[in-house]
């Protein structure tokens, strides 16, 4: 394990974020930094030609996002968010509750998003036929659970309570990518009948300034995800 190296004099509070323009994981780190009002420098990557900086600072996974603070790297988006929360604990909003039991529940749902919700929706998006159906039905089940979780507390505006928390940040991709996937796939994933609370939550998230102001450019996203879908479908056709 790395030891707590003393920062060099000129590094000070320097915060940098290695990201890409479209990564929903990197966007989580952007939101966390901006919500807490932490200035940072963006280092934008082209993942088809990974930079030395990225490979040096994330040799294990070689992925974005990577947070650099005092020249030291922190990797994995949810780990980064907890680091931001602990390092700048005096900056609102609180991204995780203080009570240990509530923290555990919060971490549970953030993990659920990454371990279950994302892989299922990726399966629905990247596959066809029975595999896609399975992805869609698993996604439906996950959304049912998230809807129920959101409805548990009456005055709950976000998963984090009255303000955005780590679960909202983790689930933020649902706000802009789900409508995009629905359009590309020609299926409905979120609907008023089954997901009234999630749809209200989505609107509230869209209205948060930090979220509103930091979406990747829509046209570029549409083009990128359409191309991904075509490649996935094309690959399947080529393998038959």
């Amino acid at each position: 394990m790395a030891t707590a190296r003393e920062p060099e004099e000129d590094e000070e509070e320097e915060v940098k974020l290695i990201k890409t323009w479209s990564s929903p994981y990197a966007l989580r780190a952007v939101w966390a930094l901006k919500l807490k009002g932490i200035p940072y420098e963006s280092i934008d990557e082209d993942l088809t030609h990974k930079s030395d900086i990225l490979l040096h600072h994330n040799p294990v996974h070689k992925k974005v996002p990577v947070l650099l603070h005092h020249g030291r790297s922190i990797c994995e988006s949810l780990v980064i968010i907890e680091y931001i929360e602990e390092t700048w604990s005096q900056n609102p909003p609180r991204l995780l509750p203080q009570d240990p039991l509530q923290r555990a529940e919060t971490r549970f749902w953030a993990k659920f998003v990454d371990d279950k919700a994302l892989p299922a929706i990726w399966q629905a998006f990247s596959k066809e036929g029975k595999e896609q159906e399975q992805g869609l039905s698993e996604t439906a089940e996950h959304l049912r659970l998230l809807e129920a979780e959101l409805k548990k507390k009456k005055k709950r505006l976000f998963f984090g309570g009255e303000e955005i928390g780590i679960v909202d940040i983790a689930l933020g991709w649902m706000v802009n990518l789900v409508p995009l996937f629905e359009r590309i796939l020609g299926v409905k994933i979120l609907d008023e009948e089954h997901h009234p609370a999630l749809l209200k939550w989505r609107q509230r998230m869209s209205d948060v300034d930090v979220v509103k102001e930091n979406w990747p450019p829509r046209d570029k996203l549409v083009a990128k995800w359409t191309a991904i879908r075509e490649r996935c479908v094309g690959k399947a056709a080529a393998n038959e």
């Binding site: 394990m1 294990v60 922190i74 780990v79 980064i80 907890e82 680091y83 923290r103 555990a104 549970f108």
Partner: protein, 219 residues
């Protein structure tokens, strides 16, 4: 008021072992319940309705699920004894990163070793050894991932030591020959009562897996 701590678990689960080790390190008294996973009990289904899996820690009637989350919870509630996570945020982030690495890579790839054959098994074996080597490199010359003492990462990874024999027998390879330092680390951890009393005998693990393979129709 005395704490009531119940652990719903399965003796062979490396995830459950993490929690047992953490509780033992902190000297927390609890009631252990070995669950029948083929016939899941009402309490398990009620306390973990989302995943229906063990381990589940029930503390004064409230459930905590997912092993790494439980270990962090135990560390936060019973923070005065045997701290598992460092207090420095950067070191905490490193610990969480490596625990996440173990979670993402070791169990699933390890499982492929005893559920697949031929080329698939060969490539899973290579992948698995690669991950162990990465972990070994991270350990370096330290006695434990936590430095002089076991920490969150040690607790997350050491349960898989009881599965090493199963992996080796299935994939027909020797972990010691590839990762001698990691094996030395594992034996060091085993000198702790919290670990040696928790981990089952490797042979028992292997027997369990062979029975499970028979049942699942895997050769």
């Amino acid at each position: 008021m005395a704490d009531e701590v119940i652990l719903l678990d399965k003796w062979v689960s490396p995830f459950g072992m993490r929690v047992r080790i953490a509780l033992a390190e902190k000297g927390i008294k609890y009631e252990y319940r070995d669950e029948d996973l083929r016939n899941k009990g009402e309490l398990l289904l009620k306390m973990n309705p989302v995943h229906k899996k063990i381990p589940v820690l029930i503390h004064n009637g409230k459930p905590v699920c997912e092993s790494n989350i439980i270990v962090q919870y135990v560390d936060e509630v019973w923070h005065d004894k045997a701290p598992l996570l460092p207090s420095d945020p950067y070191l905490r982030a490193q610990a969480r990163f490596w625990a996440d690495f173990v979670d993402k890579k070791i169990y699933d790839t390890g499982r492929k070793l005893w559920t697949t054959k031929g080329d698939e098994q060969k490539s899973a074996t290579e992948e698995f050894i690669g991950y162990l080597k990465t972990l070994e490199a991270e350990l370096g010359d330290k006695p434990y991932y936590g430095g002089e003492k076991m920490n969150y990462v040690d607790v997350t990874m050491i349960p898989f030591y009881s599965w090493f024999h199963t992996y080796e027998a299935s994939g027909n390879f020797s972990i010691e020959s590839h990762c001698p330092k990691l094996m030395a680390w594992a034996k060091r951890c085993m000198q702790h009562e919290s670990v040696s009393k928790t981990l089952p005998e490797p042979e028992k693990n292997y027997e369990f897996v062979l029975q499970m393979k028979k049942r699942l129709g895997i050769e």
